[in-house]
């Protein structure tokens, strides 16, 4: 077995309550690393087109990668892969916490959960004894994710759902500790299987090819992170919420269901404000991560709980035109406890508010008014009253009530909190990302509009190139499985510290902006490992991984997801943005919205796809992608 892998796949059949341990497929591991890549390959190979995402044929795949189980910073995530009930296409999400670590300690790389249990069940796995126990979970059914995990105790690592998953809210997630595999409705798929929780334990150690090199290099990386302006400073101080004022200043903070990109009340929902006014001094972290981007807040009646992330503050704050941090803290708690993705939840709520504003449908909540939101979130989790409609997400609501032009989703997945009209590459990324409107399948905005580089995010230069490179990179990162925030460390400290008006900084930005093809060439070169994650992979597995290797593997995974979507009937027509993003201008320097029509053909060309967005045979052959 390749080093870094436990070498085992656990197959669980919930209908027969049987399980088997099978050897990990080394060919898949070599070609797709693990995590999201491995899971996507399994999903593609094992399922027929057109299955019901909430039916028994949809497998729920939990997958780790070779970095999990090590002490490498940020190497604590597992991927969940299945067909998405929200989009009807590829579904996946990753999650921090300690569950990935638990899987590797149990000597298991991948768990495939098939079919459905007739009644609520939970699974306990002891990897040392090769035991898998199916336990009646009626006593836990209906409980929130906090209480469920509390009842399950601290001895094992858990992945659980809350009422939202049980009730098949289409954007329900799977929770481990305080973290959530939030996107695409993976929690609803777990709920459809009547599976409340998987708990896992073991005491196996990860075998590495060169443990000494790994150990000494990891020490270096910890120092590098400590010293980095993002990973060692701003993320540590403000968490992801540190970006609220930046997106607001750049006019891309979603406000009033993306009607505007600036919110006057942004300061009071910012990370800096939270640090001074709200935080209880506790910064939390996923296992083995020195970044500690989580932060705790206190809410009435519940005590100290996890505070909101940037996406929550934006989608459930500015996007609802509500600057009441205390209220958002409570909503965030409810969403976490119900086990719901706050991005989809926020954009579905803002859609409901705009429906009301236009006199189309009244869910009882309005822009700028916190009244009623708390109760509605609980109603969504339990699918009660108006909550039952909002639980289906913005796309399905727009199909029922109308309002397609202001339903803020791509392929059915609600869009994240970076308005693409001020971040063109991010817009291309939203439009083309296989799981839909998401920012952590590439994070192009960091390279063009919010990070330390100051390229013009509103011209055509590099706007089709950046998404390709970043999406490939993210596919690889999500397969190792590392936290995507590691990419924020890719721009070195020296650039962060330069005066953005200095000659040197301008020169770097100009060179960067004008070197699209060269950049693709440079990143595509197979040479020595340079970045920390390339070196870790190399030390752990014994195989050389450089940027070129990861671009190739990432490209293979991305194209496989694409082929999966095409098989499910999601074509190039779905590579679009909400009409509001394309037609309505929020910047004086633009007559219209995002210029996707101009950028998409370029993107397809770089990808090696035809004019309809279908990968060419030569592209698939080059990637050695069998479909």
């Amino acid at each position: 077995m390749i080093k870094g892998y436990a070498g085992r796949v656990l197959e669980i059949d919930l209908a027969s309550k049987q399980f088997t341990f099978k050897p990990l497929d080394e060919d898949i591991a070599r070609d797709y690393i693990g995590g999201k890549g491995y899971g996507t390959r399994l999903l593609y190979d094992r399922t027929d087109a057109g299955i019901d995402p909430l039916g028994p044929e949809n497998p729920l795949i939990f997958a780790t990668g070779p970095l999990n189980g090590s002490v490498a910073p940020q190497s604590n995530r597992f991927a969940v892969v299945c067909k998405s009930p929200l989009t009807g296409g590829i579904g996946n999400a990753t999650c921090g916490g300690n569950y990935a670590h638990g899987m590797k300690r149990a000597g298991i790389d991948v768990i495939v959960v098939s079919h459905q249990s007739e009644s609520p069940v939970r699974i306990e796995i002891n990897g040392d004894r090769d035991e898998v126990n199916f336990i009646d979970a009626s006593d836990l059914w209906g409980l929130g994710t906090y209480e469920t995990q509390e009842k399950l105790g601290k001895k094992l690592a858990h992945a659980v759902i809350g009422p939202a998953g049980e009730n098949k809210v289409l954007y329900a997630g799977i929770v481990s500790n305080e973290r959530i595999a939030g996107r695409t409705g993976v929690g609803a798929v777990m709920g459809s299987k009547n599976l409340k929780a998987i708990s896992i334990t073991g005491s196996r150690k990860l075998e590495m090819d060169d443990p000494e090199a790994f150990k000494s290099y990891t020490k270096e990386v910890r120092e590098l992170f400590k010293d980095h302006p993002v990973l060692g400073s701003s993320m540590k101080r403000f968490g992801t919420a540190g970006i609220v004022n930046t997106t607001n200043g750049r006019g891309i903070l979603p406000t009033r269901n993306f009607q505007r990109g600036h919110f006057d009340g942004a300061m009071t929902i910012s990370g800096e404000w939270m640090e001074d006014h709200e935080l209880k001094g506790v910064k939390t972290s996923c296992i083995h991560c020195p970044v500690t981007c989580g932060r705790d807040v206190e809410i009435e009646g519940k005590g100290v709980v996890k505070g909101p992330e940037y996406e929550t503050l934006a989608l459930m704050g500015s996007n609802l035109e509500i600057g009441d941090l205390e209220a958002i803290n409570v909503w965030n708690y409810h969403a976490d406890d119900m086990g719901m993705d706050t991005i989809s939840l926020g954009a579905s709520l803002s859609f409901a508010m705009e429906l009301k504003e236009r006199g189309i449908w009244d869910a009882g909540v309005s822009f700028g008014d916190p009244e009623g939101v708390s109760g509605l979130i609980l109603d969504i989790g339990h699918r009660r009253g108006a909550g039952d409609e909002i639980a289906n997400g913005a796309k399905k609501m727009s199909e029922k009530f109308g309002g397609h032009e202001f339903a803020m989703h791509v392929k059915g997945l609600e869009m994240s909190a970076y308005d693409p009209r001020g971040s063109f590459a991010q817009g291309v990324e939203y439009a083309t990302t296989n799981r839909g409107g998401c920012h952590v399948q590439g994070a192009s905005m960091y390279m063009e509009s919010v990070g330390p580089l100051t390229i013009n995010p509103q011209n055509m230069k590099l706007k089709a190139d950046i998404p390709v490179l970043m999406q490939n990179n993210a596919c690889a990162i999500n397969s190792m499985v590392l936290c995507i925030f590691t990419t924020y460390g890719m721009i070195p400290k020296a650039i962060h510290e330069m005066d953005p008006d200095s000659f040197g900084h301008r020169a770097i930005s100009k060179v960067f902006e004008n070197l699209g093809p060269m950049m693709r060439l440079a990143m595509g070169m197979k040479g020595k490992p340079m970045m920390w994650f390339e070196k870790w992979l190399t030390y752990i597995t014994g195989t050389t991984f450089s940027s070129g290797h990861l671009q190739e593997i990432g490209g293979r995974i991305f194209n496989l997801e694409r082929m999966y979507n095409l098989r499910e009937g999601l074509t190039g027509k779905e590579d679009t943005l909400p009409p509001r993003m394309l037609n309505e201008s929020i910047f004086e320097n633009m007559d219209s919205g995002h210029p996707l029509g101009e950028l998409l053909p370029r993107y397809y060309k770089i990808r090696g796809w035809d004019a309809d967005g279908v990968p060419l045979r030569s592209t698939l052959d080059k990637l050695r992608l069998e479909v």
Binding site: S234, N245, N248, W273, H439
Partner: protein, 87 residues
């Protein structure tokens, strides 16, 4: 004529206000100068914070238009923005 000025958190903390209006400012340079005035003795502090800060008018960095000479009109918003990363 009224221009809305928005400072970064640290800048605002240094002078005790994050948002304020300036009445007469023809260009971005005028706003920067008036903001500097507000810092009074804290001019050094402003310079230090401005060093890693970009200036945007209505969300667009002035370096992509006419820089400090960018002309302003009534109701414009001039923001000091730092680079950041979120998720």
């Amino acid at each position: 004529m009224s221009i809305q000025v928005e400072l970064t958190y640290d800048m605002g903390k240094a002078i005790g206000e994050h948002r304020f209006e300036v009445e007469a400012a023809a260009t971005v340079a005028d706003v920067v100068e008036q903001t500097r005035q507000r810092f009074k003795e804290g001019g050094d502090e402003f310079a230090k914070l401005a060093h890693v800060t970009r200036v945007a008018v209505n969300g667009v960095l002035v370096k992509h238009s006419k820089g400090m000479k960018t002309a302003l009109k009534d109701g414009d918003r001039v923001g000091f923005v730092k680079a950041s990363a979120g998720g």
